[in-house]
């Protein structure tokens, strides 16, 4: 194509980039931090109104998942501080949940079955309840949840945010390989076909059959294939 065309294109690009940079530098461009606190934390700084903010439903929350499992320690059901590194060397399914969250409750029977079916294959399910201790204990004892549960309020929320989700929603489930590398993070209610797909790919990573990057792409493609067709 004519070189003049490219020059004009470059100039137009410079114009767009310039405007974009200008708008990014604008002090109001960065939205204020979310006021989410769990479960009875401090209030966010005063804000006039969310209704004044631009509505952009196409912008998902910022997510920046770490490569390695972040270190954190929370009290277990007996109250004993338990670091997540307790299960070092195992592939982990870390499920963040709360008793007030209906999809979290719906998910627990699936996690129980995953614990049963995959427990012999070096896979460990760990529940992390971001909730009041007494409520979690009552619910976990009532259901006789067989896998370990770590419990906390702000400290458990800090553990959740350490996985890179700016404003955590529940449930979300982290899958790691046996080396503690995060293979994927699944937000929302997990169902059996999705769990089976992810775990089979995690096992491929554990057995050094595929590299981590391939596993992540395979999971993304597989979840896409499993997702209901919006047109149907």
């Amino acid at each position: 194509m004519h070189s003049r065309t490219w020059r004009v294109a470059a100039a137009l690009l410079a114009l767009v980039v310039g405007v974009w940079v200008g708008l990014r530098l604008h002090p109001h461009a960065a939205p204020p931090a979310s006021g989410v606190r769990v479960p009875a934390g401090e209030a966010s700084p005063p804000v006039p109104s969310d209704l004044d903010k631009p509505w952009d439903p196409d912008v998902p929350p910022r997510v920046s998942i770490p490569e390695k499992l972040p270190e954190f320690s929370l009290a277990d059901r007996a109250g004993k501080p338990t670091p997540i590194s307790t299960w070092q060397g195992k592939s982990l399914i870390i499920n963040f949940w709360a008793t007030w969250c209906a999809p979290c409750r719906r998910e627990i029977p699936l996690l129980e079955s995953l614990s049963r079916d995959w427990g012999t294959r070096n896979v460990q399910v760990v529940g992390v309840a971001v909730d009041y201790r007494d409520k979690v204990l009552a619910y976990a004892n009532d259901l006789k949840i067989p896998y370990p549960i770590l419990i906390g309020e702000q400290d458990a929320l800090d553990a959740a945010t350490a996985f890179g989700v700016e404003s955590p929603v529940f449930p979300f489930t982290v899958f790691t390989d046996r080396r503690g590398q995060i293979v994927t993070l699944f937000v929302g209610e997990l169902h059996k076909p999705q769990a089976d797909l992810i775990l089979s790919i995690v096992q491929n990573v554990n057995e050094d059959r595929i590299p981590l990057a391939t596993a992540r792409h395979n999971i993304a493609d597989g979840l896409h294939a499993l997702a209901p067709n919006p047109s149907s």
Partner: protein, 202 residues
């Protein structure tokens, strides 16, 4: 003119490719929006407040596919010398959940009202603290959200308009952005002209 059209096409294609690549990280790109996408809490549930006489009104605008639980709301005094009465909410929709039982929920929007008294005659800016909690039909829930709001007088000079509208950047910043863009445009033009030689007659 043709050059400009072709250049615009290249620009649009470049921005399109960059936009697609930057739109979502890989772990969200793998599934449809109903599966793993979720709105930030302040977009899923937007809240504003105003004062009408001795009543404070708090309005939540709820995104499609999301809902708030009636029994999870609270409106309380935050500023000194302010007393807020028991808040009232309209009847919601009943939602039956096998794991949580029957719950009353709100979709689209809800307005909660509460009477208040001020004993300082307006010496302090009025602040209230609101708490709410909700979920998405797609199968995820947000932790309880607590916010401090400044209710404004309805219809007053600083009255807050309760309705979705976009607040653009102040004109001065927009001007600065456009000027910086224009400057980059001119600079790029000058740099690209550098080294260009006029044809010399043989």
């Amino acid at each position: 003119m043709n050059v400009l059209i072709r250049a615009s096409f290249i620009l649009a294609a470049t921005l399109g490719v960059v936009g697609l690549a930057a739109a979502k990280p890989w772990w969200l790109r793998g599934a449809t929006s109903n599966d793993t996408d979720f709105l930030p809490p302040d977009v899923a549930f937007r809240v504003g407040s105003r004062v009408d006489g001795n009543v404070v009104r708090v309005r939540w605008v709820i995104a499609d596919g999301y809902y708030l639980y009636r029994k999870r709301f609270s409106i309380a005094a935050e500023s000194p010398d302010l007393t807020v009465g028991e808040p009232a909410f309209p009847p919601g929709t009943l939602k039956t959940d096998p794991y949580l039982g029957e719950q009353e929920i709100y979709t689209q929007q809800v307005v909660g009202t509460a009477e208040f008294k001020r004993s300082d005659f307006g010496a302090h800016p009025m602040q209230i603290k609101v708490t709410y909690q909700g979920c998405a039909e797609a199968g995820l829930c947000y932790p309880p959200i607590t916010k401090v709001l400044f209710p404004q007088n309805a219809g007053g000079p600083t009255g807050q308009v309760l309705g979705p509208h976009t607040a653009g950047p102040p004109p001065t910043w927009l001007t600065a952005a456009l000027l910086s863009g224009a400057a980059a445009f001119l600079l790029a033009g000058l740099m690209l002209r550098k080294g260009r030689r006029l044809p010399t007659p043989n």
